[in-house]
Symmetry: C2
Subunit: 190 residues, 2 copies
Amino acid sequence: MNREQALEMVRQQLPIKRYEHTIRVMETALDLAEHYQLDLKKVELAAIFHDYAKYRDAKELKRWIIQEQLPQDLLDYHQELWHGPVAAKMLEKEIGICDPEIQSAIYWHTTGKQHMSQMDKVIFIADYIEPGRSFPGVEEVRQVVYDDIDKACWMAARNTIIFLISKNQSIYPDTFQLYNEGLGRNLNAE
Amino acid sequence: MNREQALEMVRQQLPIKRYEHTIRVMETALDLAEHYQLDLKKVELAAIFHDYAKYRDAKELKRWIIQEQLPQDLLDYHQELWHGPVAAKMLEKEIGICDPEIQSAIYWHTTGKQHMSQMDKVIFIADYIEPGRSFPGVEEVRQVVYDDIDKACWMAARNTIIFLISKNQSIYPDTFQLYNEGLGRNLNAE
């Protein structure tokens, strides 16, 4: 599947603003993939399809989580966390792409997790820093991402936890584990 | 074992400031135990012995964690988290008290966890709010603890996470599970 075919499939699923976000994530992810010498074709597809399921109805997402035996604890957390894992499954069932590296990067793009692959990290952080984003602290993440993508992912997880706590929202365990993982690394480096 | 015997055992283990903290935790815990109609004798012992292991050498605490097959992931976290689980074991091996309710309250007094017993909650929160404490937010916790001890524990976990993140310190999984648990409860109540 070439870029235009993939983009057209996604364009049909998303409002224009979200489609434009997808284009920016793709461009950011490709820059990072080139820098970190990853498979550009796989990164491109993962970026294009990362939000494929984001505008599906919550009931449909829930049905996928149950029927595809995704982790059922997802249902205890905010539905914002459901579209990544479901899109990874939809990629296989609706699009016919079943590459585990691409699916993993899409699966984890919202929460992050510890022990991410380089491709997981690129999609996770490209989604966080694409030029349309203006979260508090995002500029500092942009400044380190080409030198230390692990630190960038840790900073993003930290910022996300601070934001969620300030809003009294629950935090998915994998996001916390990503935060703790980064500290372990830093502590050991001291 | 009566109160004086228990206090004397603890007094020999702790610097005077920490012993005075222990007295205040005991008094606070007994007030809460009376209010929530718990077993006063058990709460008294749990409070008295909660910091029993706090001034043991880190190497000794580590040895106990390994030899007593406590969760080995404790060793990946700050040693401040080790003295509760170790004290629960020492209570049995050095003092001869093997009451599971008392041991549980001592075990979890630093990190908290989801699904705490009422006695766990009383020791956890008494340690947090005793009159010598002056954490940011502690006064708000004191104001709710006699009306809603679950909310008080959640607020303490939330404050602790905010503090730890501000210091770039790792967060033990059970503490953020306690935070998430409280939100689940609140969300369901809406």
